[in-house]
Subunit: 173 residues, 2 copies
């Protein structure tokens, strides 16, 4: 059994450990492999609107994601999320449940679409999964990522409309 | 005659006045139309790597642009710029000389490509100009901009490679 719940302060040590290892690999996110704890805390916890964790039955951290507006002001009806799954929890559908959860949270927060700005093209499992979950590749950024092992590789912009454009928009109060 | 030079502290009053009026129109940038001076100063002057102004013969401010990395860490070889031209200086090629200048600055700073994340599709003059200057539309974000008069309109992701991928990369020291 997995539980998804909001991040709590007591989760930070485990979240940071997972994020540090993920970014150190330099194959999926642009965060500098030697990012400081403060920088990553700001990006994953402080800047986002909400941060969630996926917890296993034993209380182990299986994954985490954040959600935030992708642009300020007149573009803040489109959200952006970042997901990380623990290596030992791969193949259990954690990314799927996290992404589906984030789409529900997005709707609750009043977002109308979700955009991924920078999906590394060689991360084929992620690209396929996001496509399966309804995201479309709307653009390819040539050589935009310096993969730690592969050198310059492309990054993809992916997008999913959550609320059709003909549904009336009520800006946040 | 136009001169392009680096922003100086004494330029701020004129730059802020131009930016405030531009963003208040709500037809080209996502900055909230009621953004505070501090927020815009941060976005246009403090966060970017460099900010420039275009000055007319009389010393009048004709335009301004910034340049910065578009992503942190492993994506920081692609830069991003934002340009604003004074309404009274339209049609004089100010955006062209600013964009050409920014591409030279980008090369000097070691950037290998330039990306515009959010060109409002109804801003057709800008789209055409960037295409003329070698930028390609690599993606279209459906309904991603809430145009103040037109409602939801698309935004474009545009990209130009400045240094071919087969040229050896020397990361900043």
């Amino acid at each position: 059994m997995h539980e998804i719940r909001e991040f709590r302060e007591s989760d930070w040590a485990a979240v940071w450990s997972l994020l540090r290892a993920t970014f150190a690999a330099g194959d999926t996110y642009t965060f500098p492999p030697d990012s400081t704890e403060a920088d990553i805390r700001k990006a994953w916890i402080e800047t986002p609107t909400r941060t969630f964790v996926v917890e296993g039955a034993s209380g182990a951290l299986l994954g985490t994601y954040f959600i935030k507006a992708n642009q300020p002001g007149l573009g803040n009806h489109v959200c952006n999320c970042g997901y990380v799954v623990a290596p030992e929890a791969r193949g259990q559908g954690i990314a799927t449940i996290a992404c589906e959860h984030s789409q529900k949270v997005a709707a609750e927060l009043g977002f109308r679409a979700m955009q991924f700005n920078f999906v590394v093209a060689t991360n084929e499992g992620a690209v396929r999964l996001w496509q399966k979950l309804g995201f479309e590749v709307i653009g390819r950024l040539p050589g935009a990522f310096r993969h730690r092992r592969l050198g310059f590789v492309d990054a993809l912009v992916m997008f999913k409309t959550l609320v059709p454009a003909d549904v009336v928009y009520h800006p946040p109060p």
